[in-house]
């Protein structure tokens, strides 16, 4: 039980998929212009990763090693299509806002990464906890980045104005940069820096020493 609990807690910060494993960064840039889209993407990804991990874990003894990646991708892709269809039917406005990014969950390394690294070797219960933990860890980062970008880029959170922007008669001049993808890079970079400064054992030793002096040139 303690181990299962650990599987859930560890990916939140210690082994966070985005800040520690640097996975799923592409979608973390694309859907974090507002909290709402980040939240919906988080829910969709968490559902997909949990279902795919459990399914793959159940099938793990029957998936031949030589075609395991394509079997995993097929299962994940089918789940994503079904979720996308469900969203278009029951959460139409949001599916419009997320557009192609739900479909791109298929290519999110995080989902395949957990299937390949964990679910293929562990029973369904533990795979589920691991997937849920990773989904939540991803969601946590997405919500932080989405929150900062919406607050600084539009002056609002979840569509409600916190800082009233000039265009609405307030004082806040929205930072246009925050609406562009590079700002997500900056925020994720600062997050990684902050986390690794505080939990120093997360910092990886340099793989290659920096060359301080170039001899002979």
């Amino acid at each position: 039980m303690a181990q299962a609990w650990n599987r859930l807690i560890a990916p939140l910060i210690d082994e966070n998929p985005v800040t520690r494993q640097i996975l799923g960064v592409c979608s973390a840039l694309a859907v974090t212009t507002s909290v709402n889209t980040a939240l919906m993407m988080s829910v969709a990804l968490t559902v997909v990763i949990c279902l795919s991990s459990v399914l793959i874990s159940l099938l793990r003894h029957h998936i031949p090693n030589v075609i395991r990646l394509i079997v995993q991708i097929t299962i994940i892709a089918s789940l994503v299509i079904v979720i996308d269809e469900l969203m278009q039917a029951f959460a139409f406005e949001l599916s419009r806002a997320l557009s192609i990014f739900v479909g791109l969950i298929v290519t999110n390394c995080l989902v395949l990464g957990r299937a390949e690294a964990f679910a293929m070797h562990n029973p369904p219960g533990r795979s589920f906890m691991d997937a849920l933990g990773n989904g939540l860890g991803y969601s946590l980062i997405l919500l932080i980045v989405g929150g900062l970008r919406e607050l600084l880029g539009q002056g609002s959170l979840l569509g409600y104005f916190i800082f009233l922007p000039v265009s609405e008669g307030g004082w806040f001049q929205p930072l246009g940069l925050m609406q562009l993808a590079p700002s997500a890079f900056f925020i994720i970079g600062f997050l990684i820096w902050g986390i690794r400064s505080y939990w120093t054992r997360q910092a990886e030793p340099a793989k290659f020493p920096l060359v301080r002096e170039r001899a002979g040139s």
Binding site: P64, N65, S78, A89, G176
Partner: protein, 261 residues
């Protein structure tokens, strides 16, 4: 555990590999197609409702539109199917159901757009289009034209309403776009669309000159662009230039101008 070597052998045997691949593919295909077929009616209802809501919202933004409708004794605009190359109406039981974009994807129906005219980056268009017309006192009072074109990164679909002179914009409503959020996507803002009414699409000579400019518009056929969305802005202008031009609604508008309906 048994003999791991032996289980690995059976798991990797060609029969098992092919069998597993077939089973996974079949089950996944079944699940995906079931979901798609079952949910299609609900999704279509959403799309239809959205289209109608946009149309109604556009009518509400036009000053005096409701009065005009009441005067004409019509609940709504009349939808007619137009043959784009001849400009004539085409008989149809349900013109509103016709989707020009869908027809453009149908190899049997699609009409290729000559590259020198293809400013909107369409490649091909459908042969017909469903236009909405308000008739009053024996002449056209307002005509609403569906248009589409390539923006910075997506297909933009819009409705353009022209006043009775067929030269003055009554309204422009963006129906669909996937431009950069916060930049190009601001063409959906009512504030930007409110810049359009009163603009002239053509000059005195009848040439289509409508454009979206950087900074402040100075001429009646210029509209202020959105900062950081130059390509989206020119995409919108090119879309209108194509559709109002000779390969788009040109023949139809010419026919309306010279002889009414």
């Amino acid at each position: 555990m048994g003999d791991p070597q032996a289980t690995a052998q059976t798991k990797e045997s060609p029969a098992k590999v092919i069998g597993m691949a077939v089973i996974v593919a079949f089950v996944c295909a079944l699940v995906v197609s079931t979901a798609s077929v079952l949910l299609k009616p609900i999704q279509d209802a959403h799309l239809e409702a959205e289209r109608e809501a946009r149309m109604a919202a556009m009518l509400d933004t036009l000053p005096g539109m409701r009065e005009l409708l009441e005067e004409a004794g019509a609940e709504n605009l009349e939808t007619r199917l137009v043959d784009l190359s001849s400009g004539e109406f085409v008989a149809s039981d349900d013109p509103a159901a016709y989707d020009e974009m869908e027809a453009a994807g149908d190899p049997d129906a699609a009409v290729p757009v000559p590259s020198e005219l293809d400013v909107a980056g369409l490649g091909q268009r459908g042969p017909n289009a469903a236009v909405h017309i308000l008739e009053g006192n024996g002449r056209v009072q307002l005509v609403v034209l569906p248009v589409r074109g390539t923006g910075y990164q997506s297909m933009i679909r819009a409705l353009l309403a022209l006043e009775a002179d067929l030269r003055t914009v009554a309204a422009l409503t963006i129906l669909e776009q996937g431009e950069t959020p916060g930049l190009g996507a601001r063409i959906e803002d009512p504030e930007w669309q409110a810049l359009w009414p009163g603009k002239e699409v053509a000059n005195e000579a009848g040439e289509i000159v409508i454009s979206v400019v950087k900074g402040e518009a100075t001429k009646p056929y210029e509209v202020d662009g959105i900062t950081g969305a130059t390509q989206t802005g020119s995409g919108v202008a090119n879309m209108l230039r194509y559709w109002l031009g000779p390969h788009g609604y040109g023949p139809f508008l010419e026919r309306l101008r010279s002889g009414g309906l």
